[in-house]
Each structure stands twice: as structure tokens, then as C-alpha cells.
Subunit: 479 residues, 2 copies
Amino acid sequence: MAQQKKMVEAITSMEEDFSKWYTDVVKKAELTDYSSVRGCMVIRPYGYAIWENIQKDLDARFKKTGHENVYMPLFIPESLLQKEKDHVEGFAPEVAWVTHGGSEELAERLCVRPTSETLFCEHYAKIINSYRDLPKLYNQWCSVVRWEKTTRPFLRSAEFLWQEGHTMHETAEEAQEETLRMLHIYADFYRETLAIPAVIGRKTEKEKFAGAQETYTIEPMMHNGVALQGGTSHYFGDGFAKSFDITFTGRDNSQQYPHQTSWGVSTRVIGAIIMVHGDDNGLVLPPKIAPIQVAIIPIAQHKPGVLEKARELAGRLAETFRVKLDDSDNSAGWKFSEYEMKGVPLRLELGPKDIEKNQCVLVRRDNREKIFVSLDNLEEEIVKALQVVHDGMYEKALQNLKEKTFVARSHEEFLDLAANHPGFIKAMWCGDSACEDKLKDETGGVKSRCIPFEEEHLSDVCVCCGRPSKHMVYWGKQY
Amino acid sequence: MAQQKKMVEAITSMEEDFSKWYTDVVKKAELTDYSSVRGCMVIRPYGYAIWENIQKDLDARFKKTGHENVYMPLFIPESLLQKEKDHVEGFAPEVAWVTHGGSEELAERLCVRPTSETLFCEHYAKIINSYRDLPKLYNQWCSVVRWEKTTRPFLRSAEFLWQEGHTMHETAEEAQEETLRMLHIYADFYRETLAIPAVIGRKTEKEKFAGAQETYTIEPMMHNGVALQGGTSHYFGDGFAKSFDITFTGRDNSQQYPHQTSWGVSTRVIGAIIMVHGDDNGLVLPPKIAPIQVAIIPIAQHKPGVLEKARELAGRLAETFRVKLDDSDNSAGWKFSEYEMKGVPLRLELGPKDIEKNQCVLVRRDNREKIFVSLDNLEEEIVKALQVVHDGMYEKALQNLKEKTFVARSHEEFLDLAANHPGFIKAMWCGDSACEDKLKDETGGVKSRCIPFEEEHLSDVCVCCGRPSKHMVYWGKQY
């Protein structure tokens, strides 16, 4: 118990300092380590196992909808990056430049890819000739580099892992459909796999991706009311196709430009998991991506038969679940803290009395509720309990999202909410980016998150300038 | 039939020009495309699907033996790379250097990782404190960059994909065991998954990895008798540990250096698959990693009932196998050529007469043998046929390896074999690297492949200098 207390004390409380709490959790749960390259992180086994489970889930969703994986080069020649004007303006200030290969200076600088639209376009120009070659539905899992000034593990780093889908279509309609299909796949993934609710919608002109005609976004809310851009899906129209001279012979034999999308989710999603679900005891992991779903802790393990039974159970459960038996010499209390810190959804306690009764105790990570279950139908009970944990986590996060979403009908209300009530603000907007700039300046960083698909009519005028309103916008600070 | 002929003609024959045959196959089977970055390739969906199947198989073998995946940064600061002398000498001439982040010049150059020993060591120094922290069995899937002068798809490229295992152990013995365990995992993988036999053994001093005490290698032979280094496993002793100041408190309370290994397999393995198994009709893929295991070709598909039955079968088989139904308008002959080019292990033909008889025809890619099977137990028959194809491919490759392995007992014999009989040469060696240099110069590139674990005693003297022999060595040219 002394040791348990010690471990818990080692994390800063969320209420006291959310930012420090985050850093403590990342460190104590052994998700990442710092490296000697500024802003580049080491993703440790426990953190990487979470990412592998995320990849597996998302990849299956992509393949089910007809997408194929490819691999593009790490480098982009400077001239290639410059082919699309808006795109290069957006990315050039934050790329890493390779200037030498071995001891020779390169004839042309290469940037380390910050995103791969240009590489995909160069390839597509070669392989798309006819409408029969469309659609092309490619995705890539890789790392990208953006030379960020300030960095935080998972949230903002000079290098991060992600997937980037890049698709080409015969018509604008088909590309727009794809853009929304992928946004909804992300939303399903957040809800079904991560137990995270979110606001989804369209970005304003100002917040769009460099080179995109439309950017759609999924915006989950962290426990402290701050937003995190959880995934984006872009519709490019035929802008890149024109810049890269990608044409195909259409059904009517005319030369046409294909219509393009891209969409991505990165290791930031792990930051979202931590900040949406975590508590003062550490991580709380959604069962579907938890590297360990059930931690088996023998109680009074020195007593005859306990370890044998625990090992037997571990072997049996490993056929269905991701299980870890901790039969180390550490105290049961220490183990409880350890697997709470690591966010393991279920703890299975098994002691001499349980064995006598042919039962064990399941303890939920999300609310510490205890469930006594018979060993006879343990698998069924664990399946049910994991679902209950998932649902409980989702409901709790949804509750937080609802409680911290406010409505502002006047400029004063907006400023008051921004100053005193962390969360999302729903407010009307005239459509002018000058108002976005003004609100951001006045509030120290509240920006438009998105225009939701179903807008409410809160008032007739823009919350900032008083001119006629065009849209209802979700506003909020972001990571 | 005209189209089929046309497709086949489009590949250069192996006998005529093996190198051009290779390039043709890579292109026609749509495995890779060139990019505008010299030496960097685009891995297309069909090529990448092969790599995904390879990853899945190897990753399961690694995890089963207790290894965990991590992710290390893409960049290595110049000072970090320089910490181990032999290592930096080996790699510095062929790395890409990042000198600018955005518009600012970096205080210290960063190299794009050519391999990650230094990054793993930096991390291990922080997390290894006690013998209880050992072993650390980490692996990473990533891309690495080596600024090669001449490049060829999969065989040699400026950027390639690979896995690199890096492990730390309490004792030298344990690390040596790990080195050999991983070599044998590679050998099992080549035999069981890729149907590729190989020679395995220890590299000579001259051919060792930069910084290693021992390097072990797996050397499959390509169809033309040339070797390809198929995977390596290195024992480092405690050299890196000393350079990076990695110490732990041992069981006797003394401060000790841990003992290290690393091991890797890259996308070159796809080059080996092509060159070991391929023929003048294109790729021949091992069933276990083939993206499509069964290509279903309807015969006379305009006749009533054929397409319906083919679709029904495709749906049924997709539950057990990786299946593709080609119901396009192309002729059956064109389709036969197409899936032969792509190396699909089994072609399933289904026409009106087959349907009448409740049967279909399976055609093996490796030898075009036809097997008539009832639709009632089709799954079983396909499982058997895929195994037969695998075994047939392995036997054929083994036959080639045996036929093209020669013995040289004199300098003259060695030179004659090297000049006139492409393949491996078994010959005695004195242990002096001067003889390796001489033989390489005299033969235009024949190098020591490895000292096998079971050496034969072919003669008492070195085949080059006539001094007393120390080892039997496999020699050969390499990709």
C-alpha cells in the first residue's frame, strides 16, 4: 500500500496542472522517451503496441473500402514540392532539407516529406491514362517531418507516424463522396475503437489544408475542454492534377483532369486517447487497442496452488484476449497501481478463496467497479466486461463533451466563455476570416474548429462583427 | 491468344539477358516505379502487398520469440553517429545529411538513419540499470537511407524498407545465442515462407558489419548462380555498450556492460523471390506471401450461368484464401498471361462444362500442371495444391543451388569455375583477407559468402596462396 501510494503520488493531478499530468503519464506509462534530436521521440514498446493496434484497425477499414497500400520515397526534390503554389507556401517554412549525400553536395536540395501529395501526383501522372484506370485508392503508412518549434510527445513533434490516403477519381462528385466517406470512417473509428465522441464538420477557408478546396475534420474534446484535430480529409478538386499534368481519356474520348482527395490520421491520436480518457491514476485505454486487455494479478501468490491456477488461466485466456500475468515478487498493491497507470481495462484478481469458490474478481479500470465471475464462463464474462468498459468510457467522454459545449449569442458572451469556461463554443459567424482573426487575438487562441454538417440557427448575426450570420461554427482552443 | 503472345514477348528471356529480364518483370508485374529522386523507388500496390505479407510472417516469428516493436527517430545527430569508430567509418561515406530546418541552418548536421544502432544505444543507456532490465529484445520496422551510386529496384536503392532488431543481454553467451536464434529464424522464414533454400554461416573478418564482432548471413542463390545476401545477424559484444556508456548492476552487484546483437532483413528479399523463382513468363510467387493465391478465370463467361457460378465460388473461397476473380472483358488467354506474369500460384478455370460436372481446373503456376477437382471439397484441394506448389518451388530452387555449387581444390580450378560456371564455389582458405582481395580481383568480383557451420575438409591448403588452410568457405558473386 505504501508503494501504491508512492506511485500515485508520482503523477501530478489533472486539476493541478493538466500539461504536467500529461507529460507524467506519457513518461510513467513508458509510452515515449526523448531523443537527442530536438523534437523527435522514441516510441517505446507499450506506446508502439498501441499504435500497432490502431494501424491494424484503421488498415482493415481502409482495405474493406477498396484502398491499397503503397510506399513513396522519403524525399521530395525542391522543384517537385514547388509545383503546386499554395502547397509549397504551406509547407516550405517547416521542412527539413537534405543538401549532401555522403561527402558530395547535391545538385538539388531534397526535403524530407512533410506530406506526400506531390509524390503521389508525380506517380499518378504516369499510371493514369484512361477512365478505366480510375479510381486510384492508395494509402501509405509512414513517418513525416515538420520542423516544429515547440514539441510535445504525440501532440506535436518534428517527426511523427501517420497514414496518408491519396485518391484520384473520374468525377468531382465521386471525389467529394470519397472525402466524406473517409471522414466518416475516422468518426466510426474514434467512436467504435477508441470510445471517443467528436464533433465533425468542414473547416473554414482560413483553416483549410494548403492546396485543398475543402477540408473536413474530426474534433474530439480533451478532458480539459481543449480540442485536438483528430483527423482530416481533404478534397482537392483538380488543382494538383493541373499542376502535375495528370490527364485521362474520358468515356467521351476527351482529355480530362481527375479529381483528388487526401486524408490522414497520425500518432496524435494517442495524445487524444490519453487526454480524453486518462485520470489521476494514469492511462485509461480503450479495450480494443489496449496492448494488455486483462492483467492477471495473483493474490497471496505464495499460498499453494495460486500461481499454478493463475498460470493455467493466463494460458487459457491468451487464446482469446491480450493477457498479461504478473507473477513477479512485487506486492499486489504495487501491481494494482502499475496496471492502472498503464490503463489496462480489466484487472483479474485471483486468490486462494476465489479458487475455492471457482471464481475470480474483475476490476474495471474506468470506474474500479468489481465484478465477481465464475471461472466456468470467464471468456464470455470478459467479453461482456470489455464492452461495458468501452461503453462506459464513451459515455463519460460524451458527458464531458456535452457539459463543456456552450452557446454564445453575443460578443460579450463569447469572450466570457472563452475566458472562464474551457470547452467548445457554438456561435454564429459571418464568413469573414477577419472575424476569426479577431476572436483568436481577443481570446488568446480560440479558433474555429469546424462548421458542423447540421448547423443550428442560434441568432441572425455574427458573434464578432454583428453583420448577418452565414454559419454556425464550433470554436475552441486546440493542441 | 494473340494478346497472350504479345505479353510474353514483352519480357526479355532470362537466358538472353538476366538483368533485363529482372527489370522487365519488376515493371510488367507492377511492383515498383521510378521516382524523380535518384535511387528512390515507388513501391506499387502489388509489390507492397508482398512486403506486407512478408512483414506479417516475420513479425509473428519475432513476437513469438519475445521481441517487441519500437520506433526510433529518423535522424541521427552527427556527434551521435561518431560515437562508435568502426561504425561511423562504415556508414559516414554513404549517408544523406540534413543541414537546414525550414530556413534556418542547423547547429549540428543530422544524418538520415542508415541503420539505428546508435539511436538504440542512446535509449538503452537510459533504460537499462539492473540485470532485471535485461534482456531488451527490440525490433523496428522502418525505412533507411544509404546513398548508393548505382541502384536497382529492391536490390540496391538509396532508400529501402527493412526491419532492424537490436537486443541487449546480460551475458556474452546469451547474446551469441540470440544472434544465432535470429539467423535460424531467417533461414526458417526463407524455407517455410519463401520456398527458398540457402547457405548459412559466418562472414569472414573482411565482410563483417561495421562495428560487429561476428556477422552471420543467409545466402540464397539466384537462378543465374549469383548470390544475394538475404539477411544478416550480428554479435557486437560490448563494444557499443562501452562507447555509449551503457552499464547495469549485475547479480553480484558489480557494474557491467551488456552484450548486444542486431539483425535485419530488407525489401531486397523481394529481389530474391523474383530471381530465385521467376521464369520467362514472369513472377512465380511463393503461396504464403502471394497477394493473390488463386486467380479465378471464367471460361466462355458470356454463356449463361458461368459468371454467376464464378462469383459464387469467389465469395466462398475468399473466406479461406486471397482470391481474385477476373470477370473483365479481356480474353481468357490475356488473363492467363496476366496472372502468370503476376506469379499467382494457382489459376482456377471454370467453364460451362466444368459447371456441368461440378468441377473446376486448377493450374499450377510453377509447372503449369492441371488438376481437375470437384467443387465439393475445393478448399481442401486448394490447400493441398498450394502446399504442392510451395514444395515444388523449393525443390526446384534446391536443385539449382546444388547444380551450381562447385568444389575448387586448386587456384586454377577456382579461376576456371569463376570464369565459366556461375554459382557458388566451395574452397579452402588460409584465413588471410589478402587472399580474399586477390581472388576478388582475379575473378571480377567473386567474394567469400560465408564459412558454413559444417565445414568440409576439401584439402590442406588455401586455394589462393597454398599456405595451410583454416576454413572451408563458400565463394560467389553477389547482387
